[in-house]
Each structure stands twice: as C-alpha cells, then as structure tokens.
Symmetry: C2
Subunit: 411 residues, 2 copies
DNA sequence: AGACTTTGTTTTTTTATCAAACAAAGTATT
DNA sequence: AATACTTTGTTTGATAAAAAAACAAAGTCT
C-alpha cells in the first residue's frame, strides 16, 4: 500500500476493531466534548461537565486543547443563573471547509460546506459520466479547481474531500467502481484520477449511502437512529443509517433496492435480472411509460410540471410508480423496520402526489408493528443532497476521531 | 419503574448511548481480557499482553481481578519456549450457568448451558402457548423448577435467564408480547409471570433474533460480521446480526420476513395482509399444499421423511416452497447484503433438497454483487437453537460488560 | 451587608497504565 | 557444568489523565 492510500479512510466499519484495540481515553473524551460543543452551537464548561459526567477540571483542560486546535472559541460571557457568569464556548464552524463531490450517472456536482453544514459554494453540470469516464474526470478536475479557487483562500482550510459515486463500493477496494453498473470505468483508479493533494483525506462512498447521511445530519432524518434514504433517479438505490453509521452489508452492496424483483415476469433489467424495481420506477422507464400513454417528456421534472397542472396521464403514471415502489418499500419496512424512510431524487419532487398512493400501498403490504412508529417523507435537501452527504462523511469522521483526522496535516 | 426491572437488561442497543458516555478504561480492559481468555480457552499472561497491546503489569493486575471474580483459573504451567514456563490461564466455564427459555407458538423449551455453550440440560415439551397463556406459564414455571433442580446445586450459580418469544419485542416494553401475533397474551406481563428470583438478570427477545445469535456464537455463522437467520416453523421470521449485535430496527420488529408480500394476489394471512411469505412456507400451508396434491401428513418432519424416501409429491412441495422463499431471500440479500444466510427450523432439515432449488432461485433474483461473497446454509444447531440463543444473550452481555452483570449479585 | 450559588482554575489525590528493574525458571552454547 | 541468553510474571517507580478538593471570581437573593 503506497503513501497515497494512507489518507484514504477505510470504508470498513471499525467498531469491531476498535473494540479489540487499546483505548486512548483522552482522545475519546476530546471527541466527546467536541461533539457536544458542535451539537450545542453555544455552551459552557460547566454545562459540558454536567452533560458528560466529566469533572469541571477535566473539561477545562480538554476545552483548552480544542481552543488550541482552533475548533472552539470563547465568545464573551453568558447570563448568570445565580452565580458567576459562565464563559460562552462556541464551535468555530468556519475554521475549516469540506469539499463534497457528486459523481452521478449523467451529471457532476461539487459543494463546499463549513463545519456547520452551511453551503459556501455549489455547482452542478451535466457530464457523460457513465459512457465517457476520461472526459468526465477531466471535467470533474476542472470543477474542483474552480470551486476551490472561488471559495477557499488557503489550501490549509480544506479539511477533506468526500466523493459519492453511482455504484456499490467494496470496502476492500473503494477506489474502483462496480464493473456491473459502470463497465466503462473498469480499471480506473478513482483516487489517483482526482487532482487533490496527497495529504488531504479522501472518502469514497455510494451515493445513496451518503444521501442517507446528509438526511440524518441536516435533513428530514434528524434525530433518527434507523433510517432509509431512497434515491430515485436514473437508478434506484437505498442508503441505511443505523445508530449514526452507514450500514454497508458484507460486501458493501447493501441497499440495492433498485434490483429487488417486483414482478418475476417483468422486463429484463440492465443487471441481467427480470422485473427489477428500477425497470418500473427508474427515470427512463417512467418517461417511456408516459410516452406510451401519450405524454411525451424528456425529463422527470417536465413530467412533474404536467402533474402539477393536473394532467391525468401524469397522475396515472405517478400512481403506478407509487404502487411498484410501495411493494419494495413495504418489504424494506417489514425487513428492517426503520424509523423513517426518506425519498430523494427528481421523482421525490412529486411530493404528496407520490407519497399519498405510496403510503396507502405500503399500509396494505406491511405489518402494523413494522410501520406504526415509522413514517415516509420526501427529502428536504433537494439536488444538493448527495454532494452534501459526501462532504458530511468527512465531517462525521472529524467529530468522532478528531485527532486521527488532524494528524493528517501534521504528518 | 420498580426494583423488579432493575435487573432487566434493556433490549435497546446501547451503542448510541455509550458513545456519548464517559469511558471507564479499566472496565473496558477487563472485558477485553475476559473475551480473549474466553475465546482462547487456555492462554497465558504474556500472550494476552502481546495480543492486546497492554503491558504485562497491567495484564497481571487485571487477570488477578478476573481470578478474584472466579471467572478465570490458573491451571499449572505450560511449556517453555526458551525461558521461564508460563502459567496457564483457563476460563472457568463452569463457574456459572445460564438458563435459556424457548417459548414457541406450540411448545416450550428450556436449556442450561455453561459459559462455554456446553449444554448441561435440555427439555422440550408441547404446550398450548398461543391459545392458553395461563396454563402455558404454569407449565413453563414447572419446567424451570425441574431443570434448575436437576442441574444446579446452588442458586448463586445461575448467571441469568434469557427468554425467547415468538413475537416481535418492543425495546420500550420487552415484557409484553405483540397483540397482533399473540392476542391472548395481551396484558400479560411476562417478567412478573416467571418465577425467577428478583436479583437474577433477565433478557427477553424475539426467537429469530436469538437464533441468529446462537448461530454466530456456536453454529454455522461463526466468524460472520453480518448474518441473517431465518426461522422456518409455524411462522417465519428472520434475525439479523450486524457486527456482533442483534439488529432490531426502530420498534424492535426488524426481520419480519414472514410477512413480506410474495404474491400481491395471494391468500389472506392472519396478520391481515395478502400473499405473505408465511402463507406459502409456514408449516400449516405447506402441509395443506401437500394434502391437496394427495400427500397427507401432520408434521413437517413426516413430510421430510417422505421426501427422503423419494416421494415425488414431497419433492414438488419442497421445491415450490424454495421458490417462494427464494423471492424473499433474494430481496433480503439485495437489501442487506449479509455474509451468510442460515436456515433454521423443522423445514431446514430438508437440507440440500431445499437448499439447491433455493440457491438457484436466489441467483436469478439477486444482484451478483449482493451474493457473490455470500452463501446460504442450513443450521447446525437443531431444535435447541432458540433456547441456546436466549441463553447466549446473557453470555454476550457478561463478556462485554462483566462488571455491570456481576454487580447484580453484589447489590 | 451577608449568605449562598455558580463558574472556572489551581492544587492535590486517586486511578490506571506503562516502563524499567528484578526474580524465577527455563533453554542454548561453549 | 558454567555461562549467557530468554521468557515469564511481579514489583517498583514514573507518567498520564481524571477526580476531588480547595479556592478565587463574580454573580444572586434576602
């Protein structure tokens, strides 16, 4: 393994390992306080001590460390509650910035966020990703230069880069895409193809996975311990968050909802199977279905405009989509019993027109106990969700293992 | 919350909490050593120091503590490897025993194991659990007395009691069964109905969940990080293990594979839905199906005997079952990408007659990436698996949080 | 004005680990 | 057989981190 890979976070879940590893107490407490301050926006040393159970003296010492790292600042005094006025501690959300890249089947997106998830800069453009990898990578590297030049004065401010790809990612080889879904990308090493300095941490993950992460951090999934994010686009994929972490399955391909078999006698899918969900609710099949019924559109968004204007054909098409999707979602809920299911992608913009028939279908196909405490909603993060999630994966690592992340710059 | 519930382990996954909690370093290292000694059967202080990275002096001190707790013993001297002979440390597997209870839809089972999973005693008998809770509880309490009297001289030797039930369990109210599946058990408080002294830890969980646990500890799932256990019996349920822990979903009802809709136009199920998997592969529907084709049996095991003798009707029935089951398993694998799927219950005794057509069906319904590193096998633990798993849940808690478990007896 | 509170720091104590020294008991070499 | 080296496990002192206690600062409440 070359030096280039030192900064690549393993996508492997490390809980199994860290359990067997020696614990570095101070690092853990440092991360614990960092998360509390991050989540609280403003707090005080005394409050932190009460919340964490650490002593006031330990908290003082640890907070000093965080201030030295420039992640936390003192911001004047707060209001007395019957004694000395506390010193307000504030997370320094603008001390670093994160780049998130969204490599879609037919588009590229790039976002810069601060440590509070605020969007500093955002760009998106069409690109022939699936068919022309070389050209797309060139385009992507230009996009990266542009957005960095625009938003960041000093490269030291770049905390890391998260990359989302439209393919399952194997934990062992995150730099290569799946030959099944992206045949033209075979043998292309994504890490080496991207022009980011060697000492900047990189993280590659599946688009639906990071979409789920974005929703639980910033969107409709806040506060959920178990959630599923379904990305409805050219393809259909799901990402799962379980107890704050992305669930990837054994080979990294968990969440392949798009290739659940809905109709064993259905049409043949690009993956080779028959009657996959994506052959009913992928963008292309939907548009074709509408076309057959006499409604011609090139984009899902155009179809949805027609829907809003009350077009009965569009309505029928969407409700037929809801029924197919409902079968898969019902299966998902029976199987995994998530707290919330969040629909994302172009199609989710249909809102209630999609949700109402979908919920109805799910109700007739799921156990009461599996859905009684659950709900299905649409994403609130729009087209940025994937790029945002990619960036969030870097932020998550920073807040859980700050010292590991920050030594990247020291070495 | 009364004292009675102090000893009831929450079935809630505590990882989210413990992350936010202060770390008790010595407790963690104690548990770490305990697990290493447990897994190694026999080891030495020097070996432990090398394996864990702890210093020899720390190991010595911690091991002394474990010896005081009577969990570990010194067992003479080992062979020299060029220097002083090491002292052999041996896990004291017989220092405590665990009671596991299997409350099935129509049977009761009770098992006593030592800390190495060795079965000390095992009983099983039919019982009208689903329809007559009061009588069944009476029967169960008699069974508990009998098996304890038979195997355990001193009640101090009982480390805890694990209970498996044929119903989803809500993490908030583990003592009540689901009214949907066990309507006659409504308002019955399971914890208070079982005659076990108040100071003995109890753990209630769903049968498929603990079945999965048994397989990963003692059976066909050893070494797996992600596995699914499918219990094929009167009902059909799945249990998931993710990174060593049972995955329960938000409301505790993850794994309801039996109520995945296989055929939207299929027969109505007891749960109220239509075409559930269980209406095709539950014991009763299978026997009825065979009956229709002219093969009359009262039990699945009888049907399987016929199968072994080459009965073509039995063969057809099983392969039809495999096809239905295959649809659900394929969905499971696409969605969760487990390393291994293990079939348990009476039907799993069919072995290859079931596995071959099942694997074939799954292959034509699952993505290559979701199944290429996975396999489907049958359980190796037989009819004890559920009771064994219930007991194992207590063992797991003991080995991960020994101090928490043992203070139960000191208080 | 005086008593009590709350906060944050400083000092001291406690806890847990580690490193080094050491004793015990072996093997390998000459 | 004597000596040198190894390995193990304990003991002793050093170090790191946290907690407890004491304290100073700055408030509120009566």
């Amino acid at each position: 393994m070359t030096d280039r890979y030192k900064n690549l976070f393993s996508t492997l879940d490390q809980s199994a390992l860290s359990r067997a590893d020696k614990v570095h107490l101070r690092d853990q407490n440092l991360a614990l306080l960092l998360r509390k301050i991050w989540a609280g926006h403003e707090t005080t040393r005394a409050t932190l001590a009460r919340q964490t159970g650490l002593s006031r003296s330990s908290v003082s010492s640890l907070v000093d460390h965080l201030i030295d790292m420039r992640l936390v600042e003192e911001r004047g005094e707060g209001i007395s509650t019957g004694g000395r006025k506390p010193t307000i501690l504030r997370f320094n959300y603008q001390s670093k910035f994160i780049l998130g890249l969204d490599i879609g089947a037919s588009h590229l997106g790039a976002i810069i966020i601060d440590l509070n998830g605020q969007v500093i800069s955002w760009r998106q453009e069409p690109a022939p990703v699936r068919l022309q990898p070389a050209q797309s990578l060139h385009q992507l590297n230009r996009l990266i230069q542009e957005i960095l030049d625009e938003s960041i004065t000093n490269r030291d401010q770049l905390l890391g880069v998260g990359i989302a790809v439209p393919s399952p990612i194997s934990p062992q080889n995150p730099q290569y895409l799946s030959p099944t879904f992206m045949p033209t990308w075979r043998d292309i090493n994504l890490i080496e193809s991207i022009s980011i300095p060697d000492n900047i941490p990189l993280l590659i993950d599946n688009d639906a996975n990071v979409g789920a992460l974005a929703e639980v951090w910033w969107g409709a999934g806040q506060g959920c311990n178990q959630l599923a994010f379904i990305k409805l686009g050219t393809g259909v994929g799901a990402g799962f968050i379980i107890d704050g972490k992305v669930f990837r399955g054994h080979g990294g391909s968990a969440g392949e909802l798009g290739h659940m078999v809905i109709d064993p006698e259905g049409p043949t899918c690009v993956c080779g199977l028959q009657g996959c969900l994506v052959t009913f609710v992928g963008s292309q099949p939907i548009l074709k279905h509408a076309q057959k019924l006499g409604l011609e559109h090139q984009k899902i968004t155009d179809l949805l405009s027609a829907l809003k204007e009350g077009d009965p054909i569009a309505r029928d098409v969407i409700s037929s989509v809801a029924k197919s999707l409902g079968l898969a979602v019902a299966g998902l809920m029976n199987m995994m019993n998530p707290e919330r299911v969040i629909l994302g992608g172009d199609l989710a913009l249909a809102g209630d027109s999609l949700l109402h028939p979908l919920r109805e279908c799910v109700q007739t196909r799921s156990l009461w106990s599996a859905i009684s405490n659950s709900n299905i909603v649409t994403s609130t993060l729009g087209e940025q969700v994937i790029a945002l999630g990619a960036a969030t994966s870097i932020l998550q690592r920073t807040l859980t293992q700050p010292n590991q992340v920050f030594t990247q710059w020291r070495g």
